[in-house]
């Protein structure tokens, strides 16, 4: 019994140990997946573009698990981590990434549109802020159906300057919708630095323009993100409406594969790498080098297996090209 209790100790007062260990694994898995993806691009194995979240894994690790089954996710273009934290299957995800028929979207969507409607994961997004108006509809739908679900809507700092941000937050506010707006402020929208695109200190300050709660948290701290999202979800479920959470983080890699990163210095990147969320969370979990190596090894094996799975999966038949447009 004593041991059992210890098992259920809440890490950082928020997350059960077993769950936390799984999250750490998934953070490592996300990073491994994305590093592997970058390699596959370099080797020409995949086409199109993709956006990796290396350095930002804590947000996904903190956010998704703070919600309940039945809640909704509206993801972004930089959303592999969120997809995995939402319970996404690595193999089917890899298949989608390689454009295979058994991928989540039958190979039609790819990284930028990967979705799993069955688990209320309403998809990644190719249009910056494109998911923000949608979250109004999801919120309304919950309100009308009276189901106590909540929506987690992700977006970047850049998205917060689209008109859609404004309309969405105002509508969610006046109707008291259960939407959690989680802004991943990774300091840049492509080449546009936060300081150049905003003349305010914090994006969360914009919450006051809509009369909703706003707060800024350390986006490299799994616990801080978890707590903020969990509390926002609690409020939303109690009918207290929307919250704007800004999670401060940093993207280590280029915006997409073609980014030469002239807009920042190597030093700046290095400075942020010292705040890497993965070792930080591992430390919080008291996981030593050996333990961590094991996790990394497992992630590598899982990725390799997923690549094998996906590579051996069938391509969509050309004859099916017109399928799935209309119901």
């Amino acid at each position: 019994m004593a041991e059992g209790k210890k098992e259920q100790q809440l890490i950082g007062g928020e997350i059960e140990r077993s769950k936390a260990e799984d999250l750490l694994y998934k953070m490592v898995l996300t990073r491994t997946f994305e590093e592997n993806a970058l390699e596959m691009f370099a080797l020409g194995k995949v086409h199109g573009t993709m956006h990796v979240s290396i350095g930002q894994e804590a947000i996904a690790a903190g956010a998704g698990p703070a919600l309940k089954e039945g809640d909704y996710l509206l993801n972004t273009h930089r959303g592999h981590g969120h997809f995995l934290m939402w319970g996404g299957d690595l193999n089917l995800m890899m298949s989608e990434f390689l454009g295979k028929e058994n991928g989540y979207c039958r190979g039609r969507g790819g990284s930028m549109h990967i979705a799993d409607v069955e688990s209320n994961n309403l998809g990644a997004q190719g249009i910056v802020a494109g998911n923000l108006p949608i979250s109004v509809g999801v919120g309304l739908s919950i309100k009308i159906r009276k189901t106590k679900q909540v929506v987690l809507t992700l977006f970047g700092d850049g998205a917060a300057n689209e008109g859609a941000f404004h309309e969405s937050l105002n509508m969610a506010s006046i109707w008291n919708l259960p939407v959690i707006y989680l802004c991943e402020n990774n300091q840049y929208a492509m080449s546009m630095a936060f300081e150049r695109a905003f003349r305010i200190e914090q994006i969360s300050d914009r919450a006051s323009a809509y009369g909703i709660k706003g707060l800024t948290v350390d986006g490299n701290d799994v616990i801080a993100v978890h707590q903020a999202v969990r509390e926002a979800a609690d409020r939303a479920r109690e009918g207290q409406g929307s919250t704007l959470i800004e999670a401060i983080t940093y993207r280590y890699q280029g915006h997409s594969k073609s980014d030469r990163q002239l807009y920042r210095t190597r030093d700046e990147v290095k400075k942020w790498m010292k705040k890497d969320p993965i070792p930080r969370f591992a430390k919080l979990l008291d996981i030593d080098e050996e333990g961590f190596n094991k996790i990394e090894e497992k992630a590598k094996v899982d990725i390799k297996n997923a690549v094998d799975f996906a590579e051996n999966s069938p391509e969509p038949e050309l004859s099916t090209i017109m399928e799935g447009i209309y119901a």
Binding site: R106, G137, L140, I144, A164, G324, A327
Partner: protein
């Protein structure tokens, strides 16, 4: 049968849909106590309350987004663009999200929403409140486009659109709202994707949409006195288009005229004309298919200029006569 107006027919369709299916709700600007800018939703707030008749701030992208998000999670929203022109502010949500989501997700999502739009000129509302933009949406895979021209069709097509499991752009015409016609009281549907031969004739096939249907019928009456008999076809659904009745008719008459209010250049008339050309009707054409459509001009405020910016009965008469008499 009971006669009611196009507007009343739409209202009845909305009411009956909402009575039957509690997943249906309406969302738009001033649709509640105001009853909609053109009165279509008058009285519905009293019956259904503010949770199902949702007045919005002036946020067209938000309205469209509300439709996308609510529909993909199991509701059946009917959004309104107060004037069809304002859809310019909702294009991203309609075209990039609503239209493509099902496909992008591998066919694993359903988006049963309707966007109602009050279109057309003739009310002196000038260039930003008078457009006919339907062909933009015909050009977008994933959408259906419906355009009723009579009270009967308005109700039946609206009921179908709301039952449809895909996004439907539903274009109404401001000048038709007061048009009266026979409309059954019970619920009935008119299948989306079915055109209608609204008048039979042997001399010329006129394919007309929206307000151009009653105008073409008037023109037909006038020409009939001269011994010229127009066959008038209303596609009713622009996308997907019911091609066969048009093709058959052109095979019969050997001649065709497409009439729409929207600007001719880049408009739906080109689609119809090209479709006829590519069909087996080509070999039966005694004259080229012609288009009579809006001038390539923003709608002017001045009443006379506005009148002449789009086809009127007399223009249809003249054009049809020319084609039939081969005086091109």
């Amino acid at each position: 049968m009971r006669e009611i107006s196009y507007m009343e027919a739409l209202r009845e369709g909305l009411r009956q849909s909402m009575e039957k299916d509690d997943r249906v709700f309406l969302i738009g600007e001033d649709i509640g106590i105001y009853g909609g800018a053109f009165g279509v939703s008058a009285g519905l707030l009293d019956q259904f309350g503010p949770e199902r008749i949702i007045d919005t701030p002036i946020s067209e992208a938000g309205i469209a987004g509300a439709c996308v998000g609510a529909s993909v999670t199991g509701m059946r929203p009917v959004g309104e663009m107060q004037f069809s022109d304002f859809v310019v502010l909702a294009m991203e949500q309609i075209v990039m999200q609503g239209a493509k989501m099902r496909f992008m997700f591998g066919g694993k999502a359903e988006l049963p929403f309707v966007i109602r739009l009050a279109g057309g000129s003739g009310t002196g509302a000038a260039a930003q409140h008078s457009e006919s933009l339907e062909n933009w949406f015909v050009h977008v895979p994933g959408l259906k486009v419906v355009m009723p021209s009579s009270p009967y069709d308005a109700k039946g097509l609206l009921l179908s659109a709301i039952e449809e499991n895909n996004p439907v752009m539903f274009f109404e015409h401001k000048l038709l709202y007061k048009m009266k016609g026979d409309v059954p009281e019970e619920m009935y549907t008119i299948p989306i994707g079915k055109s209608k031969i609204v008048r039979e004739g042997k001399d010329l096939t006129v394919i007309a949409t929206s307000i151009m249907v009653p105008r073409s019928l008037e023109a037909a009456k006038i020409l009939s006195k001269e011994g010229i008999e127009l066959e008038v076809i209303d596609p009713r659904t622009l996308k997907p288009l019911d091609e066969e009745p048009i093709i058959k008719s052109v095979i019969k008459t050997g001649k065709a005229l497409v009439v729409h209010e929207a600007v001719k250049t880049g408009g739906f008339g080109g689609e119809i004309s090209a479709m006829i050309m590519e069909s087996e009707a080509f070999d039966f054409l005694d004259a080229p298919v012609r288009r009579l459509a809006g001038l390539d001009v923003p709608i002017p405020y001045n009443r006379n200029l506005e009148y002449h910016a789009v086809p009127q009965v007399e223009n249809i008469v003249e054009e049809a006569r020319k084609i039939v008499q081969n005086i091109y």
